[in-house]
């Protein structure tokens, strides 16, 4: 599906009187613009995503519009470029510029044990099932800089499962993956995660898991002895392993409905019989094509189970 071909509101005169930039969201609207009509900035944004896809095979075309627009506007300021078109020209010709832009297009905001109730529900309601498997495979989809991977590894160790669990931690951003592999996080952030860890049912002192040096906390590398960090796109790649648990939190909110359906389809295919799916606390499968294919295990904590 190429959104650039979408004829919705595509008026020839819509962009004519607009400033070329369209940088500040909303500023590109002439006061008389018809709601739903595409501004010059909207067209530039679509063309940029099409160019990125054709040139680098990264598919951002079905990402949610408002957030993508904000991030590109922010990137223009940081990269000191006058317009999305100017950015597109540089991105097409300079892979290094694309690598820089990629850091702005993804949202590497994460924290350890974010939503402690989620991890508590995993401990209490999912772990007992995982114990029945001789070996366990977990997929953290959209792992960003790894905070959730380390959280899950800690949880699995405390529950006696880590030794027989392989975790696939995937993301589209190579810099985020590199950071995740390092397992080094800012110390002040880690101190904030301590309360989350305790509320998630943590059984030890959180500081047992890291070594503090200067302003950084380096997490115990043995936590990730069987973690495979890998480049994988929910928009363009296929399933690579059979898993018992998929954790994909606050990733689907950046996708439109079609791409959400694609991603949920991959999770469904990857999960073994009655496998578990964990989503972000405001994400849902209710409105997706897959709603009938999962049972709800913990509604508020957003943990689902593949229907039999």
């Amino acid at each position: 599906m190429t959104s650039a071909q979408d004829p919705r509101g595509f008026r020839r005169d819509a962009g004519a009187a607009e400033p070329a930039s369209g940088l500040v969201p909303g500023a590109a609207h002439a006061p008389d613009a018809t709601p739903g009509a595409l501004s010059a900035g909207d067209i530039e944004l679509r063309l940029l995503m099409e160019a990125i896809y054709l040139r680098y095979s990264y598919d951002f075309r079905d990402y949610t519009g408002a957030s993508q627009k904000r991030r590109v506007a922010y990137a223009l300021g940081q990269l000191d470029l006058p317009s999305i078109s100017a950015l597109q020209e540089r991105v097409l010709r300079e892979p290094a510029m694309f690598a820089r832009l990629l850091q702005y297009l993804t949202v590497p905001v994460s924290e350890m044990f974010r939503d402690p109730a989620y991890f508590l529900a995993l401990r209490q309601q999912v772990v007992p099932h995982l114990h029945t498997y001789p070996s366990v495979t977990v997929w953290v989809a959209g792992c960003s800089t790894g905070e959730e991977v380390y959280s899950l590894a800690i949880l699995l160790r405390e529950e006696g499962l880590l030794e027989r669990t392989r975790i696939y931690a995937t993301d589209i951003n190579p810099e985020s993956l590199a950071q995740a592999r390092q397992g080094i996080f800012p110390l002040d952030a880690v101190r904030r995660y301590t309360a989350n860890y305790q509320r998630s049912g943590g059984k030890r002192a959180f500081s047992d898991y890291y070594t503090a040096a200067y302003d950084a906390a380096r997490f115990d590398p043995t936590l990730c002895a069987d973690v495979i960090f890998a480049d994988h796109s929910l928009a363009t790649d296929s399933v690579f392993a059979q898993t018992q648990l998929v954790s994909c939190r606050n990733v689907l909110i950046y996708f439109n409905r079609a791409l959400q359906d694609r991603a949920l389809g991959l999770f469904h295919e990857s999960l073994s019989y009655r496998g578990f799916l964990g989503l972000g606390s405001k994400e849902s499968i209710d409105f997706s094509n897959w709603s009938g294919h999962f049972d709800t295990l913990a509604r508020a904590e957003r943990i689902f189970r593949k229907a039999s």
Partner: protein, 200 residues
């Protein structure tokens, strides 16, 4: 009321409201017992501490006859409905006339941010958006109100002298003169007039 304002009120299809410190009481005054004939969708960002579920939908569901929901990701915006932003996420309005959530960093220490809601809604609705900014102790919402005005939408700010916390309405007034500056009772009247105009 002048004919121009009347015409602009008729064009409104979504109302976005921002509030912070003192906002719960202000919203209770502004939106208390909306009449059964109420038609417009209304979306509210009230600054909330992260990690706590918003109790606003439950609080207002008991006090109004329109439907009250927490805004959910990709949920289509329906008429005669009052939506509240969830805590810990930015809330945006998409051009497809649905909501989206995001974990981008806080804006002016706030997530949800009023600016994020209003700027995205102005982009999606243009002149069909009305923005109201109420009491608050920071400057979130000022940029959003400016963008709504620039996109041709209607802007109304609580009279800072009547606000529990005047900083937020003052910041909006400093950035761009809104169409309307009134105390809460006057803003409520404005809302009712707008919905009536819209029904015609």
């Amino acid at each position: 009321m002048n004919a121009d304002l009347q015409a602009r009120m008729r064009a409104i299809e979504l109302v976005a409201i921002g509030a912070s410190a003192g906002g719960v009481d202000a919203l209770l005054t502004l939106l208390d017992d909306l009449p059964a004939r109420w038609r417009l969708p209304v979306v509210v960002v009230l600054h909330l501490p992260e990690g706590h579920e918003s109790r606003l939908p439950a609080l207002f569901a008991d006090r109004t006859r329109v439907s009250v929901h927490e805004a959910r990701d990709k949920l289509p915006i329906e008429p005669a409905t009052l939506y509240f932003a969830p805590a810990g996420y930015h809330l945006s309005v998409e051009r497809e006339r649905c909501f989206s959530l995001s974990c981008e960093p806080p804006v002016l220490f706030s997530r949800p941010s009023i600016d994020v809601l209003m700027v995205s809604a102005a982009d999606a609705y243009g002149p069909a958006l009305a923005g109201l900014l109420l009491t608050g102790a920071n400057e979130d919402g000022a940029e959003g109100m400016r963008q709504i005005g620039r996109a041709g939408g209607l802007t109304a700010v609580q009279d800072p002298d009547t606000a529990a916390s005047p900083c937020m309405p003052r910041a909006a007034l400093a950035l761009r003169q809104p169409d309307i500056v009134r105390p809460l009772a006057g803003l409520r009247e404005f809302l009712m007039d707008m919905d009536d105009a819209n029904a015609q």
